[in-house]
Amino acid sequence: MTNIKLLIIDDEVEFAATLCQRLQLRGIDATDMHSGGEGLAVLEKVAPEIVILDLKMPDMSGLDVLAEIKKYDPGIEVIMLTGHGSAGSGMEAMEKGAFDYIMKPVDLQELLEKINSAYEKRGKA
């Protein structure tokens, strides 16, 4: 679980920063970015294994960012954050290559489990 390289992309700065801090406290190498563009820009520099990506952002939608990430490196596992918890958009994201989705407000324990699963999947791949 430790040393997992993880990137959080969410326009809600306070949320992203706090989540990032909490994950760092648990030994995860987490970075937070606050728009789709910023997130894509640091992909090379951060080289994340797992991305936590908000579905709804002002500059570009989570689905578009997802597509770009997968284009950059299909091996990066993406967990979608859905604000309005619609199974529909979560499912759609999964069809487009997301590993899973989780609804806000996020239960940290649940998120950690999903990160773990994603990391395990990546390890097997």
């Binding site: 809600e12 306070e14 949320f15 706090t18 909490r22 309005h84 918890g85 529909g88 407000p105």
Partner: protein, 592 residues
């Protein structure tokens, strides 16, 4: 058009306008029903009354005309009979007073012989006298001592000398019995002067004659003179030698005739010498015919009483009244029934419209509230997520710190914040779920299995509250095609409400049955406190709750309603205060 509908609206107020309460609505229908009744009654009864009055008038006129014709005929016959009789008397007297008999008749014996012969033929002759050209009586035979009279200045003498014939009124004179006189004048062949033969005739003779022509048709028949003094004895209308009471009020026939011609010209028939008038005498309608008797001083009067009360008129009036009344009764009855039917029809369609509006409004209400709810939930969700994470971070730091003062109290406070966030999360998720209600799976589902599953979820909570759950499930019920998860939500919501409603100690019964091959029904009945009508009207409204603050979102039943509608089903509530509540959920077997 607008004005017309205004006055119509005044008489027939549309019952469902400006209605505030059920009582107003009832009053509205009653007013409408009354107005309708009034209008229809007027429309039917007014023409009926007009036709009846016209028939009444027409038939009355016909009858009157017939009576008039009859009286006219009788009067004409009587007139001619009496005229003939008087003419006969006159010609007898003319015959005996031949020109050359003057000297012969001056002889008392000759006069007596003539008189006896005449009296044998005409017993009414009272006396006979001969008057010379100077008006001096020359000879007399009769029961009275009247010899030697001088008639020179008397009117009758002047008249007979002028015209050759004179007939007097009936009078008593010095003979003291009613009588009348016929006098004829003759030229003296040698002396170039006239003489007169004058015969007195008993008034009874005339009376007897008039009596013989009394008809069954007339109620009275008698003679009057030119000044309406009665000449023969009437049955009712006056006494001999007095003025006839029919003409007593100062009205002459002419005056009467004129007045009547103006007022009732139909009622008057006038031959040259005959007048019939209708008049009111002592409060009774009579027909009075008066005819001039030519060459006599008399008029013949004939009276017909109660001419309108004849049998024909009476039976006509009875028939007309019967027809009018029976038509009116039938009309009233039919109109009442029609009015009732129309009002009921209106009431029914108003009710249907009302129901339709309520049903049409519900999805709209749900949709707009759903959008609002989704917006609010989404906006709240983000700050909530931040609170959640910040609290989590503080908790993380605290767990990593050494013991410090108030650490335990702080942990408790942070747990409180997390619990509240959890509660908010549930609410926003429900709101979002409510707004969504979209994706529907279509799988074969055994409704009985779903119902039992729901009870499994709630069994623990029910047993804590001493609530017994019974089943009455139809084992042969059709499987349906629907969304299992959402079905669970439907029954879970309703059953959960039933548990909350009972509180503790009670029974919930879940039953299922097949309504028809295409429809099934699940009923959930509790013996809780029930609901008032007011509450029942709002239970499907979003955010309506009777639970204490914080316990219910008021979304459960509106979500349920939305899902059931989406499935093409129906949800109805039957509830009675202090008895309990039943929710009937009807679902189609095949989900469209």
């Amino acid at each position: 058009m607008k004005e017309r509908s205004n006055w119509l609206a005044k008489i027939l107020p549309p019952p469902s306008d400006n209605i505030v309460s059920g009582a107003d609505l009832d009053r509205g229908y009653k007013n409408f029903s009354r107005g309708l009744f009034g209008i229809l009654i007027v429309l039917v009864l007014v023409p009926l009354a007009i036709i009846s009055l016209l028939s009444h008038h027409q038939y009355k006129h016909l009858l009157q005309q017939r009576e008039l014709d009859q009286l006219f005929l009788n009067l004409e016959q009587a007139q001619s009979t009496i005229e003939k009789f008087v003419a006969e008397l006159e010609s007898v007297i003319k015959f005996v007073a031949r020109d050359d008999r003057y000297h012969e008749l001056l002889e008392p014996k000759e006069l007596q012989a003539l008189f006896v012969r005449l009296q044998s033929e005409y017993p009414g002759f009272v006396d006979i006298e001969v008057v010379d050209s100077h008006g001096m009586q020359k000879s007399y035979f009769g029961p009275y001592q009247l010899e030697g009279h001088n008639y020179t200045d008397q009117t009758w003498y002047k008249e007979v000398m002028l015209r050759g014939v004179y007939i007097s009124n009936v009078f008593s004179g010095f003979r003291h019995v009613p009588h009348f006189v016929i006098a004829v004048s003759r030229k003296h062949p040698q002396q170039n002067a006239s003489w007169v033969l004058r015969v007195t005739i008993d008034g009874q003779t005339l009376q007897n004659y008039v009596d013989t022509i009394s008809t069954t048709y007339a109620d009275d028949i008698f003679l009057v003179d030119q000044s309406f003094t009665v000449q023969t004895r009437p049955q009712k209308y006056g006494k001999i030698s007095e003025k006839c009471i029919l003409f007593d009020m100062g009205d002459t026939i002419e005056k009467n005739f004129k007045k009547r011609t103006v007022e009732r010209f139909m009622m008057v028939q006038k031959a040259s010498d005959m007048i019939i008038v209708q008049k009111s005498f002592n409060g009774q309608q009579i027909l009075q015919g008066v005819s001039e008797l030519v060459n006599t001083p008399w008029k013949l009067v004939m009276v017909k009483e109660q001419y309108l009360y004849a049998d024909a008129w009476f039976s006509f009036k009875i028939r007309l009244t019967t027809i009018f009344l029976s038509c009116a009764i039938v009309a009233i009855f039919v109109i009442l029934e029609i009015g009732k039917a129309i009002t009921n029809h209106l009431r029914e369609s108003d009710k249907k419209r009302e129901q339709f509006l309520v049903e049409a409004e519900q999805p709209n209400k749900l949709a707009s509230i759903g959008r609002l709810a989704a917006g609010v939930a989404h906006e709240i969700n983000n700050p909530l997520a931040i609170i959640n994470q910040k609290t989590g971070l503080v908790q993380d730091f605290m767990e990593m710190s050494d013991d410090f003062a108030y650490k335990a109290a702080m942990r408790e406070a942070l747990d409180g914040i997390q619990n509240s966030v959890e509660r908010c999360k549930k609410i926003t998720h429900r709101l979002l779920g409510f707004a969504r209600q979209t994706d529907v799976k279509n799988e074969e589902v055994d409704i009985n299995v779903i119902v039992r599953e729901v009870v499994d979820f709630l069994a623990k909570e029910a047993s804590y509250n001493q609530i017994k759950i019974d089943f009455d499930l139809d084992p042969d019920i059709s499987k349906i095609y629907s969304d299992r998860g959402q079905l669970l939500q439907i029954f879970l919501n309703v059953t959960n409400n039933a548990i909350d409603a009972i509180g503790s100690n009670g029974t919930i019964t879940l039953s299922s049955r097949q309504i028809d091959p295409k429809t099934i029904q699940v009923s959930i009945t509790d013996n809780g406190p029930g609901m008032s009508l007011e509450v029942q009207q709002h239970i499907f409204d979003p955010f309506f709750t009777t639970k204490e603050t914080g316990k219910g979102t008021g979304l459960g039943l509106s979500i349920t309603y939305g899902i059931v509608k989406k499935f093409g089903g129906k949800i109805n509530v039957r509830s009675e205060v202090n008895k309990g509540t039943t929710f009937d959920i009807t679902l189609p077997v095949a989900n469209n």
